[in-house]
Symmetry: C2
Amino acid sequence: MDTQHPAERILLGPGPSPVSARVLRALAAPTLGHLDPQYLAIMDEVCDMLRAVFLTKNALTFPVSGTGMAGMECIAVNLVEPGDEVIVCVNGVFGGRMKDVMSRCGATVHALEAPWGETFDHEAIAAALERHPRTKVVGIVQAETSTGAHQPIAGLAEIVHRAGAMLVVDAVTSLGGHELRVDDWGIDAVYSGTQKCLGCPPGLAPVSFGERALAAMDARKAPVQSWYLDVSMLRKYYTSGGGGRVYHHTAPINMTYALREALAIVLEEGLEARWARHAAMHARLRAGLESLGIGYVPARSLHTLNCIHIPPGADDAAVRRRLLEEYGIEIGAGLGAMAGKAWRIGLMGHGATVRNVDLVLTALAAVLGRR
Amino acid sequence: MDTQHPAERILLGPGPSPVSARVLRALAAPTLGHLDPQYLAIMDEVCDMLRAVFLTKNALTFPVSGTGMAGMECIAVNLVEPGDEVIVCVNGVFGGRMKDVMSRCGATVHALEAPWGETFDHEAIAAALERHPRTKVVGIVQAETSTGAHQPIAGLAEIVHRAGAMLVVDAVTSLGGHELRVDDWGIDAVYSGTQKCLGCPPGLAPVSFGERALAAMDARKAPVQSWYLDVSMLRKYYTSGGGGRVYHHTAPINMTYALREALAIVLEEGLEARWARHAAMHARLRAGLESLGIGYVPARSLHTLNCIHIPPGADDAAVRRRLLEEYGIEIGAGLGAMAGKAWRIGLMGHGATVRNVDLVLTALAAVLGRR
């Protein structure tokens, strides 16, 4: 197979999403040193832009030097230590991973489970907090990429804070595509990835920590188990301007250029316009799928990720292979409990266009023999 | 400051090193999905090429999705668990970091110290192993980036293995620039970074694990504290061909293209020719520096990183700033105990050329008023 010339796919799976020519060009700019004044200015701008996209004033907002799961782990290792109790809401693969990651930090994890595809009532979370009054952190996934379920977050922080806990939100598949208001919603820590609705290649994980999270980190008894992700050191690089900056590790320089360009595109479009575009493309896709007789797995679907039932009689792998080979379109297979039962069609960032929606509907109809 | 057009620096610091146009072009190729058959072929090829560059047959050889320090942490969290005893050789910043990282894994770390700039006699390591007969791992830095000291590794594994321990080597600033023979030298686990002598931007950390390391991981009692870096899961993605591959996290796709191209360039030149080029450029720089009356910090200097005394009367920051502003040349400041006392001139990968050596000598002479 040709390993030198990656094909021009239309990425309509669960991520990575299509990357615009503008972002790819930015990625290929000359490499600067990680302590070069110009690079530090770029990094500062990226952090400012991330604050704008997260809708937060949190000083400690920066891209972790890893992919989305490194963002999850960064928040877990810094906020959770041995002996802590946490509640993790599990209704799919990524809630399950958060449970695993927080367990590895030495916490006692109380898993609040919901069937795959469903979301959590805030009352159920309030009840779990009453059952576990020592809870330090409640972790929840806004956009469960394995099921396409869209978890309501607004209003939840009040319940969590009333119980003396912090709210941690996984926004990997929502940031830049779905409404997310870190400050207005009172979220204490949030992480995302660059390769979903931000339209950037994978390689960085934007995170943001609020005041409660900072206080919890300052009050830690145990050292952070990860050196690479230890925010007590990272913040000396990312939030100390000028001469106070302390080298920690060599950041992924060129990926930072790409993220800067991707965030510029997000802010040029405007967050609300972007959310509306993702909503409109989801509605367009949904109407087309329903006319093909294809239904959705979750009752409350994400706009950014459409998890649909594989129609009876369709050969899962063969359909996806034909879409890839004949149309250059990638859609996602089912993940975990959904393997073989669902497809996942992502409409994220640069990929959420009328052109792509109509093309994938046309291609699916053709491959399924529906026309 | 202009944050949209990164300047064309000549990167002669401790890394990142200059990235060729060929590698930057590869970086900007269209983004594939991380489970696309073409991407898997690219990843397999990268792993094959890494084996060639590490001079190993180790099946478990792959790029960790983070920068160099993520590679160090990946090896530490997988090989070391609470209750283990390890010996870490500390003669600079990066040995000190390895000690810190392994401590965070719950190990009892016996630090074997040497003055900054010096290296370790193998006899001293043998004696430490006698003092600490329960030692599981000996960690050592081949290329100490903070002091420029070049640690001999050949022959050490026999001593370490005779004591029943494993040898872990930091090759961040040596891989692709200095002789390193993972199999012939019996190294059990090794990590590096892409942004030094491989000539690729930062963002990936090549690692390789040998048979002893695999057996130690299989015999673990405690779960690996990092989910992101847990090799028991990562190996199902990186070493299982075809249908057996299990998704773990979204790899940094475009960085993988860049690494493929950078490794192709290394192998086209040939490892021995590349080592010889780095040796020749070091000799050329050294002769020029000595004619300017500038001496080296370490007795046994790396070819890839030249740590030199700041001449009496020279203003550390002002000289570096003038090199950057007037010549577009980055050299490194002293790090840790060397801050304000040393400069670090890197000649790595694409940057180790006659053109760059003669230019930095000319520029230094001009800025220091030596001509």
